[in-house]
Amino acid sequence: MLQLDRVSKSFGAVLALSEVSLSFEPGIVHAICGENGAGKSTLVKILSGQFAATAGSILYQGSPVAIPSSRAAQQFGISVVAQELSVCPDLSVYDNIWLGSVETPFFHKRSTLRARARKVLSQLGQSDLSLDTPVRSLSLGHRQLIEIARALVRNAHTLILDEPTATLSDGEIGLLFKAIESARAEGCAVVYISHRLNEIYALCSTTTVLRNGRLAYTGPTSALSREDLIRHMLGRPSSEMFPPLGKTGREAALTIGRLNVPERIRDFSARVAAGEIMCIAGQIGSGAIDVIEAIAGRAYDASGEVEVGGKRLALGSVERSLGAGVILVSGDRATDGIFLNLSVLDNLVAANLSGLSRGGMLRQAELVKFARASGQKVGIDVDRLKARAWQFSGGNQQKLAFGRLVGCKGIRVLVMNEPTRGIDVGARADIYGLMRSFCDEGYAILATSTDVEEVVGISDSVVTMYRGEVVGRYRRGEADSARIVRDITHPSPEGNGLLS
């Protein structure tokens, strides 16, 4: 049996997990829920040996243990399906299933191990999948199943699954549930992390809710109504979080007609007015992100009739999209968002250098003046202009990405993916406020999010997607969480989806 005793974890000044005590009993499926940033993944990483707890202890069969690595976690019978895929594309299915297992002998190609791998795969409904197929050639869903197979094949005492169903089809989810049930029946403690309330009620007998790194609730799932569960997760009425809706203009800022990206999106269309926030809700693989990428000019094989401010935009080039007035504000700050290694000042002025230079030389005084003005507008501490962007919290980094837009000429449309990814609850409200203030100035925002509360709270209109196709469209007031969740997980029966 695995127990956590007042476990805390901090990253610098940020407390990700605070004095959490839990125990995972054999034969019980234990749900852990919470908003993004509530500390779920930190908890998983502590149990799987990727993070060391700052305080508190982990008890294995009653005695405190240290879990310094994934290998050590395995020795305590802990097996994890991580949220980020950890399959190696250059290895075969077989090698990935047994990768890192302490059971693999020096000469690792054994018929007994092959048989066990095959058994687990057929349990997950993948008996057709050849063990020698390179994982590089498999779809995201299949890769996820291999990751699950890896956890199952290890015969763990504690099986931890962190959002395992995000990329799976309904059929595959059903098979996964059967596999979890049989592991549970054999006495395994299962820790199940999910955003999907339906799954939690179907599968888990105990539920723990984390909020801002603290334990908000732990107890039997049956004693918890859906409303209570959501209230524990949010810790407040959702109305305080989101700014009031603004006034949407009539004139279309962005019109998308028959947008197609091979194998990703089929015939997507939408119309976003100036001052409007439209959210595309969908899970990973739904095509929602691909719409954003295509409009930002980052999908080379995208085709469709897109107009920005009434002018035709030829897709497939970031420069053309920018020229037409479309800019990407990415939630993936590390790769697409801001320059982490540059100073706050450099980030704020990055998109306006030509206006701030004369004869090719930057005018330092102008730069500082400009950066202070845009920093103030988005709520960044302007006395820290010399600090490097990576020293800022996620929320402040996202504000930097907005700050860069201030004063950009000709921009009409902001396209955003996961605008509040990895941002704590407090800063999120600021980001929502910023989004709305940009809209009030006449920008149109097309955003995608996997966070349903966010979609409902922030949008003037919502489009739901499943497997590359639009499922539903809602105006303000029509959309509620339940409908959106149903749309993005259980599409209407007539739509089979592009990728099924």
Binding site: S48, S70, S86, V87, P89, D90, L91
Partner: protein, 329 residues
């Protein structure tokens, strides 16, 4: 075509062997039936070249498979040659042993630094390269050191079964051993996993750090023993003699299908790359093409391979076509 055969032909390992065919045909055409190319002595000569570049290329290639880069191999071959020649006068095996141990230790140290201090392996091994080169000048007193054992020099070079020599047999053995380890053992699997996605490998439970230290140790060992044998074969060691092994080694690894982003490539492919370069050099020499033109030939082959490797080639073509079709407004 048989699906299995077409799979083999499309694999990255097969590439150097496929490229070798037109090159051989071209050399034969230039030879114009004078019989200078397809002889036992040119086969011997190709394998001697193979023995010179091979171990270094394998050393570097293995580190590239692990998503690292061991630039120090060039310095290592030189320095190990000097060590072997200085230590191996009484007993040549002792010289090789000394060189091999030195390679193993220095390699492991570089790997350890890379992991422990989270250095880029290019920076760490560039330091290693310069340090080893400098150390070579120090222990030889900046002069070529002769190796008095001509018997040993003759022995390592004398033909075995007409086309092999002790040196080329050693080189081929290292490739076979590496191929077997990569294909059939847990170590090989973990090495590929580490190169493929180090974080994923770590999460799965692979000791990725240990794999990197190990691959650098093996790389040092291979480069050092290879260098020692080369110095024996020319009965001399000079701190400056072999610096030109790095470029052919990188070229052979890349031609052989080793990916610069790690995780892909096999010893069989690297061997193919080395063989191709050796054939190119020997073939061109045999038909009387001057050395500067030989570099040109190698360059063209490498360029062609780099083009074929470009992952976004299809996207670029698509873009070009589209721009060609209609200019954006």
């Amino acid at each position: 075509m048989d699906a299995r055969l077409s799979g083999v032909l499309k694999s990255r390992d097969a590439r150097p062997y496929l490229v070798a065919v037109p090159i051989l045909l071209a050399v034969l055409a230039i030879d114009h039936g004078q019989g200078r190319v397809l002889t036992l002595s040119s086969a011997f000569s190709v394998l001697q070249q193979f023995a010179t570049i091979g171990p270094t290329a394998l050393a570097l290639g293995l580190t590239m498979i692990a998503r690292e880069f061991d630039l120090s191999v060039a310095g290592m071959t030189n320095f190990a040659g000097c060590v072997a020649v200085l230590c191996g006068v009484q007993d040549p095996l002792l010289g090789i042993l000394a060189a091999g141990c030195m390679g193993l230790v220095v390699g492991a140290a570089q790997g350890f630094l890379t992991i422990a201090l989270r250095l880029s392996s290019v920076a760490a091994t560039l330091g290693g390269l310069l340090t080893l080169a400098g150390a070579g000048y120090v222990i030889t007193g900046n002069a070529t050191v002769g190796y008095p054992r001509m018997d040993v020099a003759l022995m390592v070079n004398s033909p075995v079964l007409a086309i092999f020599s002790l040196r080329s047999i050693f080189a081929l053995t290292t490739f076979v051993a590496a191929a077997l380890i990569l294909a059939y053992t847990r170590i090989g699997r973990d090495l590929i996993a580490t190169g493929s996605d180090p974080q994923a490998a770590r999460v799965a439970g692979v000791r990725a750090g240990l794999m990197v230290v190990g691959v650098f140790a093996v790389s040092g060992f291979l480069a050092a023993t290879g260098g020692a044998l080369v110095s024996y074969s020319i009965a001399a060691a000079s701190p400056a003699a072999l610096t030109n092994t790095l470029i052919p080694a990188v070229a052979a690894a890349i031609i052989g299908g080793v990916s610069l982003s790690g995780g892909r490539g096999t010893p069989l492919g690297i061997a193919g790359g080395v063989l191709l370069l050796s054939m190119l050099r020997t073939g061109m020499s045999a038909v009387g093409i001057p050395p500067f033109a030989q570099d040109l030939g190698t360059g063209i082959v490498l360029f062609a391979v780099a083009l074929a490797d470009a992952e976004h080639l299809r996207m670029r073509f698509y873009e070009l076509q589209r721009i060609g079709r209609k200019r954006p407004a």
